[in-house]
């Protein structure tokens, strides 16, 4: 995982605190209930409120915090997807995972998240700023204004970049799922 040792430590700590949040929020979402909301924006804002008072984050700006939170969220979900993906389980972990009826859907989503992770890594290679933008918006729930501030570009640029990136990533996801269906192990590690 990239990032400075300090950032890695911060993320690690963030996991511990926000993972519980995520679990609890997730458990309140009833499938098919339109009024139930599980919004990363809310989550990240809550995490910020909780941590803002702690001396550990005294020097961190809100925006920087959110960026790190976005990355933490990404790592968390990808790791969770890897763990739950039946084909991907390697090593000697002690936990078996049982699903209820949402088996197929969860597997699909897991696959998609893994594919997104790969594609984002690819995007980061060719346009780092754009990848960061996607990560912040999608995983961290930053809005257009916040993202433009974070990256130092205009909101119009953000919107353009987002639209293009979204389309490309969607395409990559579709191709990945097609490859998967054809029986190939499509993901690169």
């Amino acid at each position: 995982m990239e990032g400075t040792p300090e950032e890695r430590q911060e993320i690690d700590y963030l996991f511990s605190v926000t993972y519980e949040e995520l679990r609890r929020l997730a458990s309140t979402v009833r499938r098919g209930d339109p009024s139930a909301t599980l919004s990363p924006t809310v989550l990240v804002n809550e995490a910020w409120l909780k941590l803002a008072a702690s001396p550990r984050f005294a020097a961190t700006s809100r925006l920087h915090f959110k960026r790190i939170a976005a990355r933490a969220m990404r790592q968390l979900l990808i790791e969770a997807a890897r763990r739950r993906h039946p084909r991907k389980r390697g090593g000697d972990d002690n936990w078996s995972v049982t699903f209820d009826d949402s088996v197929q859907e969860a597997v699909t989503t897991g696959d998609e998240l893994l594919a997104l992770d790969t594609a984002l890594a690819e995007l980061a290679r060719i346009n780092p700023r754009q990848a960061l933008m996607v990560e912040s918006r999608f995983f961290g729930g930053l809005d257009t204004l916040e993202t433009s501030e974070l990256l130092g570009v205009s909101e119009a640029t953000i919107l353009r970049d987002w639209r293009a990136a979204k389309a490309w990533l969607a395409h990559e996801l579709r191709q990945s799922s097609t490859r998967g269906q054809a029986g190939e192990a499509g993901e690169k590690r």
């Binding site: 996991f15 941590l51 989503t109 293009a164």
Partner: protein, 699 residues
């Protein structure tokens, strides 16, 4: 693909997207020229753009739910943890999953708590370990013990804990139909455990009935110190975050926890208050079921709960009477104060420690006034006057002893040859008793009087014991003395005396005679006062039955049995039944030749039963009537009159007519002053309550 290519693709994409759909392909074919793959790429992008249905459009929320939500259950695959073998899952709490395990060699059962999703981060593993180490510090019979700690190969921490085979607190007292006193004693055990934790500088912060198990032997165990916090701990950044609203159960969360402010021992006191509320009223103080997080937060921080006494009434009415404990009005008044003080929104105004809470629980169980100050002045008088009234009627009832003893001596002395001597001796004896009893001529001044009455009673019991040759008289004495002990709250002495009376009468008159029924009724009334309602009802009905069959229709003993039954039904919360019986009893006492006091007492009970049933108008009308009757019987300034005035004030207070309520209360104060005298008022212990409520100035 490289960055240049990507720039190219994007530029074309945006330009094409600005054109209307039919023109896009043509434009691109022109712009791309020979580069077929470029064309394909941009077209693919346009396709996805128009569809807008990818994961990125759906947002991460749903994906997150599927990854970490409840749809996915993790269960342990490894069954062997050191010498322990996992048998089944017990539940999930905090960050861990708890399993029931059995030790291979010894066969004893333990609970094993394992961190869920330990792979997430070292920080998370550390946090889990810290929490369990907190638990290991505690060694108390009321707290589930931690025996051992270890880690799996992958670093997942796990802990071996005492397995508690018990039921949650609420289930236990509901299933056992526990009385209020029994419930309070259970709660007290819990408080002791919490107090112990506080002494070790630990606040639990998540007290709730599901975290409190009661074993078959009636002992309690506190579980799950999952979000416990060390008071004043220094570093450990993981613990310096505010408690997530999500990590605790909102129903038992204190306002300061909701607001994310500092928590302290009073936070645990609050939770204990909510548990007490539930235990008294049969429901939680706030209905959070249909509220959002924001709504729940608002309710807990700003809404005042209904008084437990009122809530209990409503629960009894909607759910049927059987499962809710009942108590006298004065007792409910105390319980309201006990509960609402613990639950005060302002931590500074709650019991400042669990120890202070325990002290008031003990005061309640002993029938003593609480240390907590209620917000209303009504309560104070009720308790004060009721206790004094017991002394008053005890003194009055002492005359009955005297009369009894006189009968005894008369019986003895009729055997003396000199009747004149007998007469003189009799008169002297009475006089001597009177002077001994009423030193200084002030019949009810202070606790010293109680002592004198008790001395007299003890002497009376001694005398009665020597009456073996006169069993009828002896039974009479036992019954009278038993009744007085009961009025003084000395139930144990009353119990043995009344049981002796019943036994003696049974052997003298047979089990189904009105004479025996008299003692059985007295014993039934004692059981009522002891809140042993099932037995009380059995005895009273038995007496009523005997009397109804064996006595003429208008015999006062029948009415007396009915009155006792009405009282008992009211005490156990069967208000409609109580009202029905009492309404039948009143006419019996309205007949010529009946003592007006009996009718007044009956109507008094009827007024109370109606009050509890929520029929305020009826209750009020009855109270007014009883007020007139008592004034006529006892005079304007008798404590029994004060008792009614308190009732009248109570209804007005409940309905929010505060100035009217105060007027009644001032009348009560007037009576208290007149009856007990200003000097006694200064020294009597109970009146320090008055001093605290600031009324001393009016004395």
């Amino acid at each position: 693909m490289d960055s240049t290519r990507w720039e190219q693709i994007q530029t074309l994409f945006h330009e094409a997207a600005e054109r209307p759909a039919p023109e896009q392909r043509a434009f691109l074919q022109l712009a791309c020229g020979d580069d077929q793959s470029l064309l394909a790429e941009v077209l693919a992008l346009l396709e996805e753009d128009s569809r807008g249905a990818s994961l990125l459009d759906r947002g991460v929320a749903h994906a997150a739910y599927q990854m970490v939500g409840d749809a996915v259950h993790a269960s342990i695959r490894t069954k062997q943890f050191g010498p322990y073998r996992i048998k089944e899952i017990l539940g999930e709490g905090g960050m861990g999953v708890v399993y029931l395990a059995e030790r291979d060699d010894l066969g004893n059962l333990v609970a094993i708590k394992v961190l869920r999703d330990a792979w997430l981060s070292p920080a998370r593993r550390e946090r889990f370990s810290i929490e369990q180490r907190i638990l290991a510090q505690l060694n108390h019979h009321g707290i589930a013990r931690l025996y051992d700690a270890n880690t799996l190969e992958d670093g997942t921490p796990w802990f071996v804990m005492e397995y508690v085979d018990g039921v949650p607190l609420t289930d236990y007292y509901n299933k056992n139909n526990s009385s209020i006193d029994e419930r309070l004693r259970l709660l007290r055990l819990v408080c002791e455990a919490v107090q112990y934790a506080h002494q070790h500088a630990l606040i639990h912060r998540d007290l709730k009935p599901s975290n409190i198990l009661v074993k078959r032997d009636g002992s309690v165990r506190l579980l799950d110190f999952g979000i416990a916090k060390q008071i004043e701990e220094l570093d450990a950044p993981a613990n310096q975050t505010r408690t997530a609203l999500r990590l605790m159960t909102p129903a038992y969360a204190a306002p300061e926890q909701i607001r994310g402010e500092r928590t302290g021992v009073q936070t645990d006191v609050y939770a204990l208050g909510v548990i007490l509320y539930e235990l008294l009223a049969g429901r939680l103080p706030f209905d959070l079921s249909h509220k959002t997080d924001a709504g729940a937060a608002a309710a807990i921080t700003t809404q005042e709960p209904a008084k437990p006494s009122i809530a209990a009434q409503h629960t009894a009415e909607t759910a049927g009477h059987a499962h809710l404990p009942a108590a006298t009005k004065a007792a409910w008044s105390d319980l309201d104060v006990l509960c609402l003080t613990a639950m005060h929104k302002d931590p500074a105004r709650r019991y400042q420690s669990v120890e202070a809470f325990i002290r008031d629980v003990d005061h309640y169980l002993k029938g003593e006034p609480l240390e907590a100050q209620p917000d209303s002045l009504r309560y104070t008088f009720g308790k004060f006057v009721n206790r004094r009234w017991q002394a008053v009627s005890a003194a009055a009832a002492v005359f009955a002893i005297v009369v009894g003893l006189v009968i005894f001596y008369t019986v003895r002395l009729t055997t003396a040859r000199n009747a004149a001597l007998a007469e003189a001796a009799r008169t002297q004896r009475i006089q001597r008793f009177m002077t001994n009893l009423f030193q200084g001529g002030d019949p009810s001044a202070g606790p010293a009087d109680d002592l004198r009455v008790v001395t007299l009673l003890d002497r009376g019991v001694q005398e009665a014991r020597s009456l073996d040759t006169e069993p009828a008289v002896q039974a009479e004495m036992y019954e009278t003395l038993g009744g007085i002990y009961q009025k003084l709250g000395k139930f144990d002495q009353a119990d043995s005396l009344l049981q002796s009376a019943v036994a003696t009468r049974k052997s003298l008159f047979g089990p189904d005679s009105p004479e025996t029924a008299k003692s059985i009724l007295a014993l039934g009334s004692l059981r009522d006062a002891q809140a042993k309602y099932d037995e009380a009802e059995k005895l009273i009905r038995q007496a009523l039955d005997t009397n109804t069959r064996r006595l003429p229709r208008n015999d006062p003993a029948i009415a007396k049995s009915q009155l006792a039954l009405g009282r008992l039904l009211e005490d156990r919360g069967a208000y409609s039944q109580s009202i029905a019986i009492l309404e039948q009893t009143a006419p019996l006492y309205s007949r010529p030749g009946s003592a007006p006091a009996d009718l007044a007492d009956t109507l008094h009970e009827l007024a109370n039963a109606n009050y509890y049933a929520g029929h305020y108008e009826v209750s009020d009308a009855l109270n007014q009537r009883v007020l007139l009757m008592y004034k006529e019987i006892y005079g304007d300034r008798h404590p029994r009159v004060a008792d009614i005035l308190i009732n009248l004030g109570a209804v007005r207070y409940d309905l929010g007519h505060y100035s009217e309520a105060e007027r009644y209360d001032r009348q009560v104060l007037d009576i208290v002053q007149a009856w007990y005298g200003k000097d006694n008022a200064d020294t009597a212990a109970d009146l320090t309550i008055l001093a605290r409520t600031g009324l001393r100035e009016s004395l």
